[in-house]
Structure formats: C-alpha cells, structure tokens
C-alpha cells in the first residue's frame, strides 16, 4: 500500500470494473465480482491487490507473486502462479496505468490563494486555482482554471497558462504561452534568454532574444529542465511531449507531438523534431538539424546530421543503429585479440 502520509487511495474496484476501465480482458474463469483495494509491485502485492508484468526481466517475480490480480500480455498467462487472477492486454503497462489512475487519481487542487503570494493587480487567475505561498505572478499574466501553482514559483509578465496546469515548487516561467494540462516539475526554467551572442575576441555581444516558448497541451517538463525562449522565432513544444529531468532545450527548437526526451538530453538551437521522436538519456543533438517523425536516438548518442523519419541512430557521431552495434562488436573483438 502506498504510504498514507503521501497518497490517498480510492476504490475498491471489482475485477469487472478494472477490466473495463483498463480496456483489458479477464482471463477465462476469473471471478468478475472479486474486489481489489489497491495496486502494488509484484513482490509486495497481496491477495486484494493488483500488479502487472511488463518487462520480462521480472518474470520470476511474477511467478513468485502473491498478487490477487495481475495485468499481463496473453502469452505470459500460462506462467501465472496458481490462484492469481489475470487481466490480459497487449499493452499491460498502459492497462495498469489506467488501473493505477483509478486508485490514485490526480487530486483536484483545493482552491486557495496564499496570503504571501504576490499577484500583480493586472494578472488574471481562473476559478478553482490553488496559488501556494511565495508565488509571484507578474503583470498581465493569465492563469487558467483549476491550476495548481506550487510554492515560490515565479511567473513573469504576460505569461499565459491554460486550464488544469500543475507548476511544481520553485519553477520559473517567463515569455511563455502554455497550453492545458501541462505539468511543469519543480525547478524547471522556462523562457529565459537563449545562448545567443556574436562571439569575438573583442568580447561576445549579446543578441536580444525576442521569441517565446510555446507549449502545447498535455506536456510534462521534468525537474530542473531548462527551455530557452526563441531568438526571433519561438521555441515550440508540441502536444503530449514528455520531457524528463535536467534536459536542455535551446532557442528556436521545435518538438512535434508526443516526443519523449529522457533525462539530461541536450538539444541545440533551431533543431526541429517531428512527432513521436524518442531521445535516450544524455543524448546530444547539435543545432539546425531535422529529426524526422518516429526517429529514435539511443542514449548518449551525439547526433550531428539530420535523421530520417523512423530511423534509429546510436553512437557519437550518431550512425544507423545497426552500424553502431556492428562497430562496437567489432571493436570489442579487436581489443580482446591484441
């Protein structure tokens, strides 16, 4: 059970409820009326709890699990321990996500404006917002409905936030237009100047950064990540992008819809991603490139050229994934020979 100091569980739910809300199929013989009260990891789950198996690395934990109900892919069903009920899904992790969201829905913020918040008289705050202590909101900013603005967040002049956004404690936003249901984690920095200046031995000369950061709907931006505003064009983060912690996104970068950017990735200025691009942790992508939709960039890659839609690349400089795998295998063999 999740620690009640931090989480409040809803439910219980019947197996039938859980099958429906997770769009999965009860395995033959399952008792549709059986009642479950929580989710739990395979190792800890008990008879009235729901777990899942997604990564086959954990098949042994699955086989030893005491979970009353487990979401699995159909081909794992016959490996289940005696007495465990099953929900079958071709995407067990997604089905489990829906179940866990039912037990632990995102709490609706209790509306409040802390007395120590400092909101400019010309800013507007939608109904149902929770504005925590120490928040500073600048002139002309517009905050949508039901937003939760964490303690000590600083929102600059003119920033626009859509409905149902969550801004984590101590984050800062400036020069930004943000969509709905956007979740910005603690300490993220959105909208500051990009790294734009004319270099020279007589001194580097700052170029005014005159664009914005435009963020779509349903985006997540991780803790302490940094997204600079555009230099003239905007920096654009498409709908549904998931951005992890400590990611750097330079000025004028454009991400399409649904991109997944793992921790510590850096994307240099003016590079454009299509839709559903995935970049593994610590990858670096140089500036002014085009990364096609559905491309996949391996962790720690150094991408120095355009990547075609659907292509998978790895290594530094990044190359087609198969070439990289062949290269590393070959090198390993040569080094051992010597």
């Amino acid at each position: 059970m999740a620690d009640p100091r931090f989480f409040t569980v809803c439910g219980p739910f019947t197996l039938k409820d859980l099958a429906e809300l997770s769009q999965s199929t009860p395995a033959e013989g399952a008792d549709l009326g059986a009642v479950f009260s929580d989710v739990a990891p395979l190792e800890n789950a008990g008879a009235d709890q729901v777990s899942f198996l997604d990564n086959r690395k954990y098949a042994a934990a699955f086989q030893a699990s005491k979970a009353g109900l487990c979401v699995v892919s159909p081909d794992m069903a016959d490996k289940a321990p005696q007495g465990m009920a099953l929900l079958l899904s071709s995407d067990p992790y997604r089905a489990y996500a829906r179940i866990a969201q039912a037990f632990y829905p995102v709490p609706v913020p209790e509306p409040w404006v802390a007395p120590t918040a400092c909101i400019d008289a010309s800013a507007t705050v939608g109904e149902g917002c929770r504005i925590e202590p120490g928040v500073v909101i600048g002139a002309g900013a517009e905050i949508g409905k039901r937003c939760r603005i964490g303690a000590n967040v600083v929102i600059g002049t003119g920033v626009v936030l859509g409905d149902d956004c969550i801004i984590g404690a101590n984050a800062t936003l400036s020069h930004a237009l943000v969509g709905m249901r956007v979740n910005i984690y603690p300490g993220a920095r959105i909208g500051q100047d990009g790294f734009g200046f004319a270099m020279g031995p007589q001194g580097h000369l700052k170029v005014p950064q005159l664009g914005r950061v435009v963020i779509g709907n349903g985006v997540e931006i991780g803790a302490n990540s940094t997204i600079d505003r555009g230099a003239g064009p905007d920096t654009v983060i498409g709908d549904g992008c998931m951005i992890d912690n400590l990611v750097q996104i330079g000025h004028n970068v454009q991400l399409g819809r649904g991109c997944v950017i793992v921790a510590q990735v850096g994307i240099s200025g003016s590079t454009r991603f299509g839709d559903f691009v995935a970049a593994g942790g610590q990858a670096g992508i140089t500036g002014h490139l085009k990364i096609g939709s559905g491309a996949r960039i391996a962790a720690q890659s150094g991408v120095m050229r355009d990547v075609a839609p659907g292509e998978t690349v790895g290594g530094a400089p990044a190359m087609p994934m198969n070439d990289w795998l062949r290269q590393t295998a070959m090198l390993g063999k040569m080094a051992r020979k010597k």
Copy 2:
C-alpha cells in the same frame, strides 16, 4: 514583431542610423533615409523590418525573404532578392546584434524594494536597485547600483555584487564576489560547497571548502548551472565568460577571459582554462588540467589531458580534432564492410 506582452520595441531608426550603430556599410544605392521599425527573422520580416543572414544554411530563406533591410556579408550581396536593402559586414551576426539591441535595449529596472523581500539590516543595497518579492539578502552583503534581483533569489552572508547585475528568479549565491554587468539566470547555484571529501570504507569525510567564487565583469551564467566555491583557492570566472544552462563547474576551476561554455558541460575541480576557450555541449573535462587560450573542445568530448593553446580536440578520450575525424571515418568504413 516581438510579442508586445513580453517586449517593448524602440525606434524607428533610419538606415543611416542602423549602419552607424552596427558599424556596417550600406550597399551601393541604399536609401539612407529609409526608416525601419523592428527586427524579424528572415521568413517573417516585412518591408519595414531588419533581418540578417549569418548561417549559409538559411541562404534560401534569405533569397525568399521580404525583409526591407538585411545585414549580410559582402559575398552574399549579389544573392539578395530584388528590392531588399543591404548592410554589409564581415561579421553580420555582430552587426545584427547591435541593431537588435537598439530596437530592444535591456530595460533599466524600475527601482523598488518589495515589501516581502527580507534584507538583513547590515546589508547594503545600491541606488536604483529593483529587489523583487521573496528575495532574501544576508548579513553584510553588498549589492551594487541598478541591480535587478529576481523574485525568491537568495543571496548569502557577505556576498558582493557589482553594479548593473541581473540575478534571475530563484537563483542562489553564497561565498561569492561578483563583478559588474553580470547576468545570472534563473535557478543558477553559485558558491555552495565543492565535492571535496576524503573517501574511505570507514565513511567519506567532508573537507571544509574555504574558498570563494570570484566572477569578473560582463559574465553570463545560464539557468540551473552550478558553480562550486573553491576548496582553499578560489573558483574564478574571468571577464566576459558566457556560460550556458546546466553547466557544472567544480571547485578551484579557473576560467580566463571570454570563455564560451555550452550547455551541460562539466569541468572538474582545479582545471584551468586560458582565455577564449570554447567548450561544446556536454563535453567533460577532468580535474587538474590546463586548457590553453583559444583551445576548442568539441561537443561531448572527454578531455583527460592538457590541451595546448589554440588546439582543437574531439572524442573521448579527446584527441586532436583531425585524428578524431579520421578515426570516426575509418570506423564507419570498417563497420560497413563487415
């Protein structure tokens, strides 16, 4: 036009004004009295706007641009579209920077001390400063004139800031002496303890970090970057250094003048850079090295030895750039053969 919610444009300026302030030369036949009201990217600029061409990747956008005036290098002049006036410069980006600064000068802060700022009675704040809400300034700190201290910034005991500094929201400074015209971005961490301890199986023993961070004039330090104070000697950032976001600078590091450190670079303790060293994104430099003036370190390099003045290195472990290019080409060929 830059979004007026975020930016206020000055001007207009005549072509003659712009040529003078940008130190560039009007192309033959240019109408010196023509008036321009703004800057804009090549793709969006109109007849009364000024743009620039610096990266030849954008030559097609230049040729299709409707900008009334464009700053270019002389050898691109004959590629300009009909009717576009030109300012010629051997460094068009620098010339454009001056023009953009004229249209969008850094606003002088409106002097103010927010009532929720908490300034120790023994601290001094120069005239013309703007101290935003939630700022905390410790005992004996000295803030120069016309500084802008963003909301929720924390400045520790004894910290000294020169005139005309801008400290971004939620940044923290301690144990630091900062020059004039220094721009520290939101969330930067300056002056905390370095990572110094005696390792051992009986437990790691912290070594008191007794130095400071000494920052010259005209320095920029990016969002969420971290600069640890010295262990005994100081950590030193020379005049005019430009440091991007999420950069880590360890204790006792010394950077000379005008170094350019791109995002996510890490510089380990006690390494010394000469003047005008450039380090590309995500490069790592180990401790106790000397990197000579004018050296260039490619993105993602792993530098494990001294680098001579003016040398360019790449790869991990870093080697002369030509060796690295040869090595990666050779490896690519071998992998494809197999």
Copy 3:
C-alpha cells in the same frame, strides 16, 4: 586565510593537538608545542598555517611551500623544504580533513523561525531548528532537531527529516523520508514523480508514482540534482552516499552505502548499486541493472549491462577498463597510421 566575510576560524591549535585530532604522526624532531592558527593551500600558506600534499601533481608546490606544517604521506617526507614541520599519515587528505574541520567546524544554526516562513499547523519542528525566510512546510511534515532549512525551501506534506539536516536554499522535497545529518544542496529536487508512462501513438499515459524517496544518514545531495520518487517500490539512497551536482537518479533506483556519484551522472530507473560504488562524471547507467559493491564506473561511460562487484568499467558501451584502454590505444594508433 579564508575570507572572514564568509568564514570564522577557530583555534589556534598546537602541533600535538593537530596530530591527535588528525590521527597522524609528527615527523621526528617536530616541536609538539608549536602553534598553528589556520589552514591554507600550499602556495599561500605561511609559517603559522597548515597545508597538505595528497596529489603528487602538486609536489613542486609542496617543495616551494612556506607552510609551517604540512600533512604528507611518509614517503614524501624527505622532499619537504627546510624548516617545514610534518605530520605523517597514510591518508594525508583524510588527516587534513580532520584538521580543517577543527579550524572550521560546521556552524551550529542559531535557532530561529522566520516570520515569513509558512509552516502548516500540523507539521512538527524539532528544537534548535533554523527556518529561514520564505520556507514552506506542508501538513504533517516532521522536522528533526537542529535542522537548518534554507530560505525559500519547500517541504511537502508528510515529509520526514531527521536531526541535524541542512537543506540548501530553494531546494524542494516531497514524498521523502530523510535520515540524520543529511545535507541537501541548493536547488536539489527530491521526491517528484518519476518518468513513468505507457508510451503509445494514441498519447503517453502517465502511471501514478506511488513510492517514496528514502534517504539514509550522513548523505549529501548536490546542487540542482534530481531524485525521483519510486513508482511503487521506493527510491533508496544508502547511508553516507555522496552525490554531486546535477545528478539524475530515476525512480526505484537503490544506492547502497557510501556510493560516490560525480556531477552530471544519470542513473535510470530500477537500477541497483551495491555499497561504495563510484561513478565518474557524466556517466550514464541504463535501467534495471545491478552494479556490484565496490564497482567503479569511469567518467562518461555508458553502462548497459550488470557490473560485477569490484569491477572497473569504462567506455560506451562500458567494458572492462583494461579492454577500454586497449581499445582506445589501438584506435589511436590506427588513425595515426592512415
């Protein structure tokens, strides 16, 4: 001498005192009654100051030093300059750490609750705490004795902190149970949601993150580092771990005792470290791995497989250190030949 604006020196101490507290041995003929008033780097130290030699790179500075007393390993004793007293230790850095701690002990916080701190009525704060301005402490949180909570820190609902913790300015903690003597640096982010969601072209679906961050005793977590809470299991940081700046630790990661994690390392979800693992700067470790006790991971490595206890690995993908050294040497030779 350390800058008195930032540091207060204790002492003086006799050579006998210093030998005892540092568990080192005075070299033959040393005057046990000689008095020393401070520590200083080799280059700056004077006759009444104590320095140390640990890294042989600085042997020349040692030989030229005017320090009155120096801690060295016995085999360097005969290289000492005339007139310098010596303390001999097989671990001179650790011995020096004890001496420096005697001159510069961590100040006991002056108890205070700033009037602008916002502490929920149901939270408990132990005796002797210093709660600086702008701090926000949520419902049910428990703060131990003699903690120092820096300005604008945000501590979420239910968080538990042991005695003698130091939380740096602008840090945030949520969903966390923290031991005693833990030092969290400015801007660190502890306990936010992990990067857990079911990916898919129909949109990525967030998986509720129901675990906590559990931090042992004597841990340090660097500036702007991020530690996500567990997805179901906890994220665990063992006793005595030293974590540098800008480190990313994903959900469900477990670190054993005494691990040393250098700046900008990233550890992906569910990976487990044994005790006293050391990871060099910018190394990346993928998810679901086991890294054995005493393993060492070179800077910038990309670890994609389990690492045995005591093994040293380097390169990307990481391989045994000797293989990697051989490989890089071989590649260098081949590239130069061509």
